[in-house]
Structures are given as structure tokens and as C-alpha cells.
Symmetry: C2
Subunit: 364 residues, 2 copies
Amino acid sequence: MQIDPWSNVNVKDYDRVIKEFGVEKTENLHKKLPLENIYFKRGLIFGHKDLNKIIEASTKKKPFVMLTGLMPSGRFHLGHKVVADLMVYFQNLGAECYVAVADIESFLTRNIPLEQAKKVAIEEYLTNYIALGLKPKKTKFYFQSNGSKNYMNFSKIVSKKTTFNELKSVYGDLTPEKIISALTQVADILHPQLKENNGPKPVVVPVGTDQLPHISLARDIAYRMRSEYNFILPSATFHKLIPGVKGGKMASSDPSSAIFLTDSPEEVTTKIKKYAFSGGQKSLKEHKEKGGNPDIDISFIYLKTMFEPDDKKLNKIYQDYKSGSLLTSELKEITIEKINSFLKDHQQKRKQAIKQIDKFIIKE
Amino acid sequence: MQIDPWSNVNVKDYDRVIKEFGVEKTENLHKKLPLENIYFKRGLIFGHKDLNKIIEASTKKKPFVMLTGLMPSGRFHLGHKVVADLMVYFQNLGAECYVAVADIESFLTRNIPLEQAKKVAIEEYLTNYIALGLKPKKTKFYFQSNGSKNYMNFSKIVSKKTTFNELKSVYGDLTPEKIISALTQVADILHPQLKENNGPKPVVVPVGTDQLPHISLARDIAYRMRSEYNFILPSATFHKLIPGVKGGKMASSDPSSAIFLTDSPEEVTTKIKKYAFSGGQKSLKEHKEKGGNPDIDISFIYLKTMFEPDDKKLNKIYQDYKSGSLLTSELKEITIEKINSFLKDHQQKRKQAIKQIDKFIIKE
């Protein structure tokens, strides 16, 4: 099994990922967490590497880092929100936060000019991160094109610690720009542990499954550099993608597939009513007789993974839908109301967030 | 024909290089030069690319750049002096000078720590450059590990403009660290033409033949970037290696093969008398009868390529040696005297040079 992080891969066989990439299952891990988290509890995060190091550091109030990256393309939607919520979650656990804008990577692999990447990263991503709760204290929001000299050199230095054969086995087909992108990502993941950043210390990288190759490579390279740098192998969490409204992928390029965090209540209502893939039966009569299937119903999945943290309430919705007493139109109404309630609050916070942007931008 | 710049290649078949790499012969080019130069005149520089652009810029007093790099390893010997003299030569023609310390490359390909590279670059190389006449005005002496942000990013950006197949055909076997080294070199060669450096403008890169692959790659990439960056294809001069005392390679690792610029008169005398490969005959009698062969005689070659600029004097030595009237021991005495005279003066200048170092070190 090979995962190409630069294709629009949609990894679905999570059991296979767990088996072939040595990912640990999360299972009952959420009960050990210092603070409850819906993504762990509801299984959106299906796997991890070495998360116990992070739980231990947080519990013992020892320093640790959350690092993640963003590809500055497209409009910010619910799929992006997951990573943002996890940043905030780990910050609340006590993490120092590093947020890497992958502008070098987005230029090399998607031809996005650096200036455009900067604008999108700040206006679309950072603004939403702040509105979702990211605090400026102990947060480094940096650009790959504008990191410290040590970081930039480190992205070259790590090339000594891998081979073509390894890169091929991790990434499949390679090009020079993919190698540069991969090594830059390795530097992103490992540089919080450099001496200038008071390392070594545990680092957790919350990522979607498509980014797994970078985690594997960074861990292998960290291991090979351990004698010189004393690196702790980086930890990671892996989450499933939030499905798109229509049941496929949520993609900025297909607006009816995505709930954007700037959507109006009318837009959300239309998208869910018109497009949301439903687990209901074909007719009202049939639905009442046979009941619906909440497990494949996008409205239910959104409630489960994001908008209904209360287990009892969620379970009642599940049972009512399954029994047929809750209709598809009613389920959709619940979801629409929840999303719009969140967005109303969020869009207020975004306005405030814009004023805080300067506190996050590092000038190296 | 493939040239691996990271092996200790000793390219000898210059005609083949000219043919297969599209290098232009120098031939009578030295007569067109604005200032006479012994390396052109005596054929040590056997080839070039686009040197006319440089001659034209110099003649018309238009801006142009001399860029070259140094690999900070080993002690500075006569072989290194050739590049230094060419830097000074182009500076005297009006060039703005960029001197790149290839510390990232020497770390990646020779495992030299950055700190050690810095020390060697300054104490061995820069000190000698200054003593040989390099002036601080319009000179940037920089480290690959400490260039400007734009330069550092540019070394990644250029990865988009090449392919594996091209890199393989230029360099042969590749490793990730060789790719990084090659792309960093391309950035070295092209970045004087970036807008921040008031480019585009002609750039000449004086190098040994082993560095030809970097020139070829940089020119091809410059061509592909022309619409966006308006680059002028970089020019280059290619020189033969100064042979070692014993006739093989001059190498810091074999002290009896090299004349170091810190050698004492006694050391030089011993090296030439004891080790210098001679074109003389086996016995005095035979030498007087048959004459010697100056073309393979290291003492004569040193005079020709470096220490006897006067054509008439050189020609007399050549004829006398060939006729047998000049003995090997006498020829060696002439060379010893010339080298020691140069070194005495140079070592005085080195002491002064140390005081000037700070004027050259760029702090980015």
C-alpha cells in the first residue's frame, strides 16, 4: 500500500493503514485523555503513533509541542476545521503550537505563487484558527519560505539520512520537487526539537491519513539522527476525512460538496436539503416501516463527528432514525440548525479574529 | 562522457569535454581580453561558455558578476590559487564578486561540520584570496548555510525546472544529498541575477572541469526560467588542473604532491628537488646529448602556467631544456626561486590580509 500525499488521495481502508503502516488503534484511548475530545470519542481519529508520550507530558505538565501544516489553497471548510480543532485541543492540553504554512510545497506541487499562498494562509486559515480558539501565546505561525536559518538548513541536512530507495518506497513515483517538499516537511516536523527551540521534547502532529508518509519518514530520520540530536520520535494522530455533503470528498473546488465556514444560513440549508446524502428510505411510508440507516447518512455523520457532543442525545437521534420515527427531513433540520448555530457564532468570532492576526505572524 | 563533481575526478581528455559538453575553445581568445591573463595565454584555461558577454560588459563598463564557490576542505595550495587569481582578474575587469562557501555541500557530500567549514573557509581560503588581491568593494563572501531568504528559497524553487532523468544524465548516480547539493549550486550560480541583486546581468563562473555539470544544469534551468526571471545564461571558464609535484593530482591529503601557500622555502626546495616529476634524461651525459622534455616536466609546467609570465624568458628556458644545455637541477632551481619569491611576498600579504577579513563577511 502506497499513499501519495500530493495526489488527491482519499484513503478509505483504515484497517489496512493500521496494519501496513504500524499505526496504533485509538480504541479506548479517549478515556485516558486529560480533556475529552469528540474526534477521539467518536472515532474520527482512528489511529495514532506514540500518543502516550503526549498524554504523559500533558499530565505531568512537561513541555511538548503540537505541530501541523496547512496547504494554503482553497476555501476553509469543515474538513479543515478538524485540524484546527485539534490544534486548539492540544494547545489546551499545554502544547506549544507550531503551524507551518506549506508555501514552498504548494508552490512546488501546485504552482501557487508564494504571495498568493501568504494571503490565503492568513485570510482563510489563520483567521479561522483564531476564531476556533487558537491563542497567540506559545504559538508560532510560520511560512516554509520564511523560517529560521537553522530550519532552512535543516531541510537540506536531513537529505543525508535517507536514500532514493526509501523515498520511493514511501512516496512511490518521485520528482525533484517532491523530494524537496518531503524533506522540507521532515524539517517542519523535527525542527521544534532543535536546540534553538529548547528541544528535544515530545511533538504531536495531527494529520489526515494522506500525510502518513511524511510522518513515517520523519520518524525514521529522527531515529537515525538520535545520537547527534537526541530526538524523541514524533507522535501523530490520524483522522478520517469528514465526508462531503454528497457523500464523496469535501472539496473547495466543488462548492456543493463543502460547508464553508463563511457560508450563510441559506447556503447551508440549501446544501443539506438539496445535496446531503441520506440514509433514509425512498418513500415516507417505507421509511416509517423499515427505518433509515444513520451510519451512511451525511447529516447524521456530521452530528456524530462534529455537532452533537452529547452521547445521549446523539444516541436518541440514532435510534429514532433507525426505527423510522425520525424522518430524513427532520434529521436534516437538526443538522442544519446545529451547523448554522455554530456558524453564526463562528462568523462573529472571525470578525474579532482579524484584529489578532498580527500577534501570530513571526518575523524571523 | 559523465563527470561526477563529487568524486575526485581528474578530467584529462579536454578535447572530448569540448566536443561532448558544447564547450567553446579558448584558442586566441586571450588576445581579445581587456587585460592580459597568464591562464588564458598559456592555455590553462582551455574552454569557456559565452565569455564574450563578459568581455563585452567589461569593455562597455556595464555591470557583470564573477561568481565562484569553494569547498572548504584541505589546505590552500597552488591549485586553489588558480581560481583565486581568476576571481581577482575578473574583479579587475570590473566584476562584482560573489564567493560562495559550499558549506552545505561539503557537509552533505564530505561530512564536514558547518562550524569547521566556516573556520577553514575564513582562515585558509578567504585569507589567501585577500592576500592574492581580492578587494572587499563589491564582494560578497557568503555561506550556503547563511544566504538571504530569497537565495535559500530559490535553491528549492529551481527543483521545479528539472527532472530525474536530466539529473541522472548530467550527474550519473544520484542520492538525495547530491540532488540538494546540485540544486543549491544552481541557486548559487543564478541568484546574482535575482531582482534583489539588481539582475539580470551577465555572470561568469570560473571553475575546474569537474564542476562542468553544475554549469550545464544552471544554464539549462536559466533558459527554462527566462520568461519569468529574464535570466542571461551564465558564462563560465574551464581550466585544467595544475598537476601535483609528482605529476599526478595536487591533493592536500598528500603533502608531498602539493605546494601549499604556507610552505617555507625549505619545504618548497625539498618538494621540488626530491619529488618534482622531471622531463630530463637519466644521466647528465644523456641529458646533454638528447635534451629534456619540458612539456612533461613539472618544474617547467609551473613556470609556464604560473610563475614566468614573460614569453621570451619562458621560451628560452624551453629551448635550453629541450637542447640539453639547461639541466634538470638548474631548471628546478629556477622554479624553486620563483615559487619562494612569490611565497615570501604572499606570506607577508597574508599577515595583512587577516586584518581585513571582517570587511568581507556578510551578515544576513
